[in-house]
Symmetry: C2
Subunit: 300 residues, 2 copies
DNA sequence: CCGGATATACTCACTTCGAGTATAAAAGGA
DNA sequence: TCCTTTTATACTCGAAGTGAGTATATCCGG
């Protein structure tokens, strides 16, 4: 069992939600995701990253999960000694104390993916994007049908509904069609803000993963302060999903899962009737896979 | 951005279902998963693995997805030059031509995880396992409550239902409690067949991933022959999930998803009334995220 | 031609889910 | 003070989905 030699680096997608806006930690004024070499001193990848993030941001890292490992040949740092393997992680950080201002480098998700925010209705930029995609679909007759189906599905066209989970598929389609750039070339033609190397793709992977995860795992609470109102919770979920939710049904969903409990206090900072404050029931953390069996079991 | 140096290897969990039994491809007579160095010549990790599997098995690899990247310090191949990064993949292979006999090295999943097969009712070995786990729970008073909740949830005790997706959590609990061994020591005390290094843990990861995936993505069909009966399909799903399903409801589920279509032919190899043969509708492949929105949307 | 075995089809109660409506409690201006 | 605005909270109703059971069809072997 021979072993190949390679360079290894860690790349982190660290997200927080401040002021109803989902943000990601960046370096180089928003042009790259924080990354670093994989140090030998660490016990494991997780531990290494956790430690490193603590040093860098001063904020403890709540949730951390591995995203994906990239090692394609057309990546950076290729030299004679071997190629680079990039192991990316998704981390969730609690709301920042000083949200705006000159903080290290938190940038809104939707700077990079303006077409992914549907909270104010379908964004206008989407019509331009789907128009360009139609051209791309028509461009190659042989693959036309196949391309059409992929575009319709990913972007919710032709009867299909918009699915917020498909952010990565959308980005990859746009990349294939030449609508987004990864190295910053031809900025006039492309949509959304670009990033260094393939960092924007990694961010898309993180966003898609998180959007899928909030549906079956109570990870939103890693982004919430100690106590919060139901509206705050809803707005955070909406910020992540890029969608508006139905308030009564959201509340029903939340309390039938029994994930939170009242603190007994209320706040009137919200304008109208004072809202009850809630806290997350930590006891519940490891229970609750939020099942969703989906398989028709038989009792035998 | 300095880059750390490391050894890189690929590890594959290749599964097939033959004769209603889920199997995994192994080397060393079932003691290890196939693995190899990460070669520089490959375009990407996926492509490299796909090519390598084709050469090794002669069978084309249908579905392939990345599983997890391990780099813990207590792994093998540690030397002065750096540590080993293992990138694991899950692959699905269509039914083998010659199932049993002296084939390369396909072994049943449940040799390694006998407690995971609930098709014939709750396996007897489970009572022994949960008994030992109760001892472990009681052993450390400080963490007792926490441990109890984890065990109850993972193994479906105290009112919770057995959840087939939690295979990895179960294995990790058993590992923590010292009930399974990774290096083959103390075979008398441990449950299920062991494997080289952490390969059994990687297999558990693959099984858990696949069990979760079949619920929302039509990957089962990567394991089925070109045409099949509904019963065959059901038995394959049951083999993977380690559960028996409710036949009428399974059929309803399948045809309301419109994933398959009749071939027009029937087979009478099954004993009783001849069964209709079906084929997978490949057109559907990239559509169908099998949604499951779970978020209470608002129409605005 | 009849029972065993397997395949296929239908029914029914119960839960979940989308969508809409109604009431409660604060703040602020006429 | 009272009325409007704003936000929070509570309830209702029908459609769709799900768990569970029952009924009918078609083959094989005696």
């Amino acid at each position: 069992m021979a072993i190949g030699l390679a360079h290894a680096e860690l790349i982190a997608v660290l997200s927080a939600v401040t002021g109803d806006e989902p943000r990601v930690m960046t370096v180089r004024s928003g042009d790259a995701l924080p990354s670093g070499p994989f140090e030998l001193g660490h016990r494991s990848l997780q531990a290494g990253l956790r430690e490193w993030v603590g040093d860098q941001t001063g904020h403890p890292l709540g949730y951390l999960e591995q995203l994906y490992t990239f090692a394609d040949r057309d990546r950076t740092h290729e030299d004679a000694e071997g190629r680079t393997i990039s192991i990316s992680y998704l981390g969730l950080v609690r709301e920042q104390a000083a949200p705006g201002a000159g903080k290290p480098g938190w940038h809104g998700w939707y700077e990079y993916f303006p077409w992914e925010d549907h909270r104010g209705g379908t964004p206008e930029i989407l019509t331009a994007i789907t128009g360009r995609l139609q051209d791309w679909v028509a461009a190659e007759p042989a693959r036309r049908e196949h391309r059409r189906r992929r575009v319709d599905f990913a972007f919710g066209l032709d009867g299909a509904a918009w699915n917020e989970d498909l952010g990565l598929q959308r980005y990859e389609l746009m990349y294939e069609a030449g609508l987004v750039t990864e190295a910053g070339c031809a900025p006039a033609k492309s949509f959304g803000r670009s990033m260094f190397a393939d960092h924007r793709r990694i961010l898309a992977t993180g966003i898609a993963r998180l959007r899928a995860k909030i549906k079956y795992r109570p990870v939103v609470f890693e982004l919430m302060p100690e106590s919060f109102t139901l509206s705050q919770l809803q707005h955070t979920v909406e910020a992540l999903a890029g969608l508006t939710l139905h308030k009564p049904n959201f509340r029903r969903l939340i309390d039938q899962q029994e994930l939170i409990e009242e603190t007994g206090e209320t706040t009137s900072e919200t304008g109208g009737r004072p809202a009850k404050l809630f806290r997350y029931r930590h006891a519940v953390l490891e229970e609750r896979a939020l099942s969703g069996s989906k398989l028709p079991l038989s009792r035998n």
